[in-house]
C-alpha cells in the first residue's frame, strides 16, 4: 500500500502546472467483519477499500476531490488527472480563501505496527466454542488500517495499524445482558475465555427480579465505558476552537463565566499514546499531547488548520474533536467501588446521549445492559432501564465524589465508512445526586 501511494502521488505531482500545490491524503483498510447472533454467524465478509483526497491549491484558492482507487496505477493516474482538470476549472470561479492554511515545513514520517493479528477463522472458532450455549451477539473486526499524506513540496507521511476489535454482548433475556469488548493487536484466547467466564458468572445476577426506581436523585457509579458515552457527546463541539469562538461549545459557561470542574479533573488529548495519525490532512505535525482541562479549569482548544488561521492560533489537531482522550485518575480503588457506592446504582453502560440544554452541558440518555441496584455495597438486582438528565458540569464538578485509580484503555468499535482509530483512557467515577427522570 505504501509503495503504491508513493508511486501514485509522484505520478500525480508530475501533472501539476506551474504555481500549483497539491496535498494528497490516502486512506485504506483491509478488514474482516464477522457478525454474530445467538453465537451463530449472521453476516460475514471482507472489505478492501482505498481512496485519496486531493486538495489543489493555486493563487490562494483551494478545492477538494476525493475518489476511490482501483489499484490499477494507470487507471488511477488518469482518474486523478480528470479530477485535476475539474478542480482547475473550479479554481477559476471561486474567490481567494483567507483561511487557506497548509504546512510549509517538511516533516516526513513512517510508523508501521507489527502484524501479529490472529487468523480470523481461528479466532471465530474460538469465540464460538467458548460461548457455546450462550446467546452471544456482536461483531469481530480485524485487519489493517493505512493512512498516508504526501504533498508536492516533498513531504511524505505514512502510518499502518493492524488491530482487531471484538465487541459483543452475552444476553440473558430481553434487554438484560453483559456487554464486553476485547481490542488490540495481540490476540489471547485466554482473555476471551476469562471475559466470557465473567459474563457467565454475571448472568445469574441479572436473572433476579428487576428493580424499578422512581425518578429522583441517586448515588451512582459510572464505569469508564459509561463515562465514554458522555465524553463522546461532549467531544461534539466541546473542545473545538471554532465552537468556542462562536459560542456553540457546551462548555460555554467555563468560557464565559469561568466555571470550573472539580480540581482533580484533568483531560488531555494524548496523540502520543493514541492510534490516530500524528500528521494532519494539511501536513502539519501534531504535538505529543494537548491539555484540554487542567485541574478543573479549561486549558486549550483543539484547532485544525482552518480554525488556526481564522482565529490566529496554532494547529494542534486534525479534526476539532478528541481522538485519543485521557482523563486523570483518582484514588478510589476498583476493589472498593461497591463499598463506596454503598446504596445506589452501578451504571455499567449508558446509551444514546444527547443534550437537553446545551448551554448548560445538560445531557440526557439511557442506562443499558448490566446496570445494577446496589444496597450496602452488594448488587441486589438488575435495574429497569432509566433515563437520566444531568449536567456534565455537575457530574465532574460539585457532585463528583471520587475517581478510580484504574483507567481502562478503550478502542472505539465504530465502523462508519471505515474502522475507527479513536481511543480513550478513562477512569470510573462515583457521583452523588444523579438525576433520573423517566
Amino acid at each position: 500500500m505504501e509503495s503504491y501511494f508513493r508511486e501514485l502521488s509522484h505520478k500525480i505531482f508530475s501533472h501539476l502546472h506551474g504555481g500549483e500545490i497539491l496535498l494528497i491524503n490516502y486512506q485504506a483498510e483491509e478488514s474482516d467483519f464477522c457478525r454474530f447472533n445467538q453465537n451463530k454467524i449472521r453476516q460475514a465478509g471482507h472489505v478492501q477499500q482505498q481512496n485519496v483526497q486531493m486538495e489543489l491549491i493555486c493563487d490562494q484558492k483551494q478545492c477538494v476531490a476525493k475518489f476511490d482507487l482501483s489499484g490499477n496505477l494507470s487507471w488511477d493516474v488518469e482518474l486523478a488527472k480528470e479530477y485535476l482538470t475539474i478542480q482547475r476549472q473550479q479554481l477559476i470561479v471561486i474567490p481567494q480563501d483567507p483561511f487557506l492554511h497548509y504546512a510549509n515545513e517538511l516533516y516526513n514520517s513512517e510508523k508501521i505496527s507489527e502484524n501479529v493479528l490472529p487468523n480470523t477463522e481461528d479466532a471465530i472458532d474460538h469465540i464460538n466454542r467458548t460461548a457455546k450455549n450462550l446467546d452471544l451477539v456482536g461483531i469481530f473486526a480485524s485487519g489493517a488500517l493505512h493512512n498516508g499524506f504526501a504533498n508536492s513540496l516533498g513531504q511524505f507521511n505514512w502510518q499502518t495499524n493492524y488491530s482487531f476489535n471484538f465487541d459483543w454482548s452475552v444476553y440473558l433475556q430481553q434487554d438484560k445482558a453483559v456487554k464486553q469488548n476485547y481490542a488490540g493487536n495481540v490476540w489471547q484466547n485466554e482473555l476471551i475465555q476469562q471475559k466470557i467466564e465473567f459474563a457467565k458468572e454475571t448472568l445469574p445476577i441479572l436473572s433476579q427480579k428487576e428493580k424499578s426506581i422512581r425518578p429522583g436523585k441517586y448515588r451512582i457509579y459510572l464505569t469508564s465505558v459509561a463515562l465514554q458515552e458522555l465524553f463522546e457527546l461532549l467531544n461534539w463541539g466541546g473542545f473545538g476552537e471554532k465552537s468556542h469562538q462562536t459560542a456553540q461549545t457546551p462548555l460555554l459557561k467555563m468560557k464565559t463565566e469561568g466555571l470550573e470542574l472539580n480540581s482533580n479533573i484533568s483531560i488531555t488529548e494524548n496523540f502520543s499514546t493514541g492510534f490516530s495519525p500524528r500528521f494532519t490532512k494539511q501536513g502539519f505535525k501534531l504535538p505529543a499531547s494537548v491539555s484540554l482541562i487542567k485541574n478543573g479549569k479549561f486549558d486549550n482548544c483543539l484547532a485544525n488548520s482552518r480554525s488556526a488561521k481564522e482565529f490566529d492560533t496554532k494547529v494542534n489537531c486534525n479534526i476539532e474533536h478528541p481522538c485519543s482522550m485521557e482523563m486523570s485518575n483518582g484514588d478510589l480503588s476498583m476493589d472498593n467501588v461497591l463499598q463506596e457506592l454503598d446504596t445506589g446504582v452501578f451504571i455499567s453502560n449508558l446509551w444514546y446521549c444527547n443534550y437537553s440544554d446545551r448551554n448548560n452541558c445538560r445531557m440526557t440518555g439511557m442506562t443499558r445492559f448490566a446496570c445494577m441496584w446496589v444496597e450496602n455495597g452488594i448488587p441486589i438486582a438488575p435495574l429497569s432501564v432509566m433515563r437520566f438528565d444531568e449536567s456534565l458540569l455537575n457530574l465532574l464538578g460539585e457532585k463528583l465524589q471520587a475517581v478510580t485509580v484504574e483507567r481502562e484503555h478503550i478502542l472505539d468499535a465504530s465502523t462508519y465508512h471505515a474502522r475507527s482509530n479513536t481511543s480513550w483512557s478513562l477512569p470510573g467515577i462515583l457521583v452523588d445526586d444523579f438525576t433520573f427522570t423517566l
Binding site: G45, Q62, G138, Y352, T415
Partner: protein, 478 residues
C-alpha cells in the same frame, strides 16, 4: 470502467456456485458551503466499488472491493467463498429457504432542474445571498449556507440473470444562524439540519431555500431572548419536520425486523415490539395510519427494488392504530415467518444489506392547521428537531426541538426556548388526538440514520402532517 463491462468481467471469472449476486455502486457527491460570507473549499467525491455475495452449500459470505480489476474481483470472490466455508458450520440463516430475486427492472429519480443547470458561480452567489439574509444583527455570531448534490448509480445482478439498474439523484440544502448573548446561545436551521430530497434543484423551492433565510435568523434571535419552555403536562402540536424524528425513532426502529430478531442487540438495540404483536397490538389511537412506500418521487428512499432485488410496493404498517407488519426484507421475513416490506438496504458498496426503514409516512387526516391549534387549550407547538435520545428497546424517549411557541385557548402565543418532551412509545401514540390534513402534510428525510455492525449511515424518508398529542410531559432548559 462501466458497470456492464465489470459485470461481464465478473461473470467470466466467478466459479460455479449455488448463487451469487453482484452489486455495483457508483456514488458521486458535490458540496458547496459559504460560511460567514467566506466560500469554503468546494468538495467533490466519488465512491465506486463492488459488493459480492456468494451462497454455497449451507454457507454465505460477502466481499467488497473498489479494486474493479480482474485481479481485484478474483481476490474478492476468493474471500467471499472462504467466508461461505467458515459460515457453513455455524450459520444462523437457513440458506435453502432464501427466496431469490425474480424480477429485473430499472428506476430513475425524477429531475426537472438538473444540478448542472446552475453553474458554479450562480450556486455560490445563491449561498452568498443566503449569508447576507442570515447576518442581520450583531448577536448572530455564526452563519452558513450549503448545498449538496448526490448521484448514485446502482447495478444489481444475480446468477439467475436478474439485472436491476437504478439511478438516484438527491439534493441536500441547509443553512443555519447562531445567535448569542452572554451565556445563552441558540441556533435555528432552514428546515432542520441535513434534510434532503430526491430530485434536482427544483426541490429547493420546497425547502423555502433561500426564501426563509431571514426568518431563520430572526427566529434564532427571538430564541436567545425567549423564556425557557415551561415544565408541564400539556398538549403537544408537532410540526412535520419533528414528526419526522418521532416517526423514525418510535415507529420505524422498533418495527425493524432485524432488531426484533436480535441482530442489533449489541449496537443499535432491540425492540419493545415482539413477533406475536403483529395483527393484534393497538400501536396508537385509531387516527394513526402509517405506510411504507415508494410512491412520492421526491421522498428520499423511493426506489423500485431494495438491495436484495425485492420489488418495492406500498404497505400499511399500522392501520387505524393496529400494528400490521414489520419492516423487514426477504431474509428476515423467512427467519421470523412474518410478512415484511422491501427494505433490505446497504449504505454503499462496502456494506451488506440489512433491514432499514425506507420511506415511512403518516397518512394525512382531516384537520386544518388552524383547527389543530384551535383544539388546544394549554399546549406548545414544537418545530425542527435538535436533540434525540431513546432507549435500546425504542420505548422511553426524550426529544428536543429548535423552536417552540406556547398555545393558549386555541391561539398561538410567545416563542419559548429549549423545548423538550419525553414519553414512552407504547403510550405516546395512543395519545394522538388530531391529525392534520393534506395542507399540513410535508415530505422530509434525513441522510443520517445509523445502524448495523459494521456501522452504516443511510438515508430515510418521512412524510407527515402536523399532529396533536395529549397529556405530554414538556419542559425546558437550565
Amino acid at each position: 470502467m462501466e458497470n456492464q463491462n465489470i459485470l461481464q468481467l465478473f461473470k467470466n471469472i466467478v466459479p460455479p456456485c449455488d448463487f451469487w449476486s453482484l452489486r455495483l455502486v457508483d456514488d458521486s457527491e458535490e458540496t458547496l458551503c459559504v460560511r460567514e460570507h467566506v466560500v469554503q473549499p468546494p468538495t467533490m467525491s466519488r465512491s465506486y466499488g463492488a459488493h459480492i455475495t456468494i451462497m454455497q452449500g449451507r454457507g454465505m459470505g460477502y466481499a467488497a472491493t473498489n479494486e474493479l480489476t480482474q485481479a481485484g474481483l478474483t481476490n474478492a470472490i476468493k474471500r467471499a467463498l472462504n467466508w461461505c466455508e467458515i459460515s457453513s458450520h455455524n450459520n444462523i440463516l437457513d440458506i435453502s429457504k432464501i427466496m431469490r430475486p425474480k424480477k429485473s427492472g430499472s428506476y430513475q429519480s425524477q429531475v426537472t432542474k438538473p444540478w448542472v443547470q446552475l453553474d458554479l458561480n450562480d450556486k455560490i452567489q445563491l449561498l452568498q445571498d443566503i449569508n447576507k439574509h442570515l447576518k442581520i444583527h450583531d448577536c448572530i455570531v455564526d452563519w452558513q449556507a450549503d448545498l449538496t448534490y448526490r448521484r448514485t448509480e446502482m447495478l444489481f445482478a444475480t446468477s439467475d440473470d436478474i439485472e436491476i439498474n437504478q439511478q438516484f439523484y438527491y439534493i441536500t440544502p441547509g443553512y443555519q444562524a447562531v445567535a448569542n448573548k452572554d451565556s445563552q446561545t441558540q441556533f435555528r436551521t432552514g428546515g432542520g439540519w441535513g434534510t434532503s430530497r430526491q430530485g434536482g434543484l427544483e426541490q429547493l423551492l420546497s425547502f423555502d431555500f433561500p426564501a426563509s433565510a431571514n426568518q431563520v435568523a430572526e427566529d434564532a434571535i427571538a430564541l436567545v431572548d425567549a423564556q425557557e419552555c415551561p415544565e408541564d403536562t400539556m398538549s403537544l402540536l408537532l410540526m412535520p419536520n419533528q414528526m419526522m424524528l418521532q416517526i423514525h425513532e418510535s415507529i420505524g426502529h422498533p418495527l425493524e425486523l432485524d432488531r426484533i430478531l436480535g441482530d442489533e442487540r449489541n449496537y443499535a438495540g432491540t425492540s419493545f415490539v415482539t413477533a406475536d404483536m403483529f395483527g393484534e397490538y393497538q400501536y396508537g389511537s385509531e387516527l394513526l395510519n402509517v405506510t411504507s412506500n415508494a410512491i412520492l418521487a421526491e421522498e428520499l428512499a423511493s426506489y423500485a427494488f431494495d438491495d436484495e432485488g425485492t420489488p418495492s410496493e406500498q404497505q400499511y404498517v399500522i392501520q387505524n392504530g393496529k400494528l400490521l407488519r414489520p419492516l423487514g426484507g426477504v431474509m428476515s421475513q423467512i427467519r421470523a415467518n412474518l410478512p415484511g416490506v422491501a427494505n433490505a438496504r446497504a449504505c454503499d458498496w462496502n456494506r451488506p444489506a440489512i433491514d432499514r426503514m425506507a420511506n415511512l409516512n403518516v397518512v394525512a387526516g382531516d384537520s386544518t392547521f388552524t383547527e389543530l391549534v384551535a383544539s388546544i387549550e394549554n399546549g406548545v407547538l414544537m418545530d425542527s428537531n435538535k436533540s434525540w435520545s431513546i432507549d435500546d428497546s425504542r420505548n422511553k424517549f426524550q426529544f428536543g426541538c429548535e423552536f417552540a411557541r406556547i398555545i393558549k385557548n386555541g391561539t398561538l402565543k410567545q416563542v419559548v426556548r429549549n423545548p423538550n418532551y419525553r414519553g414512552i412509545s407504547a403510550n405516546f401514540w395512543q395519545s394522538l388526538s388530531a391529525v392534520g390534513d393534506d395542507s399540513t402534510f410535508e415530505v422530509w428525510g434525513t441522510p443520517y440514520c445509523g445502524k448495523g455492525e459494521p456501522n452504516q449511515m443511510i438515508h430515510v424518508g418521512h412524510a407527515s402532517p402536523a399532529c396533536v398529542f395529549d397529556q405530554v410531559d414538556v419542559f425546558g432548559g437550565v
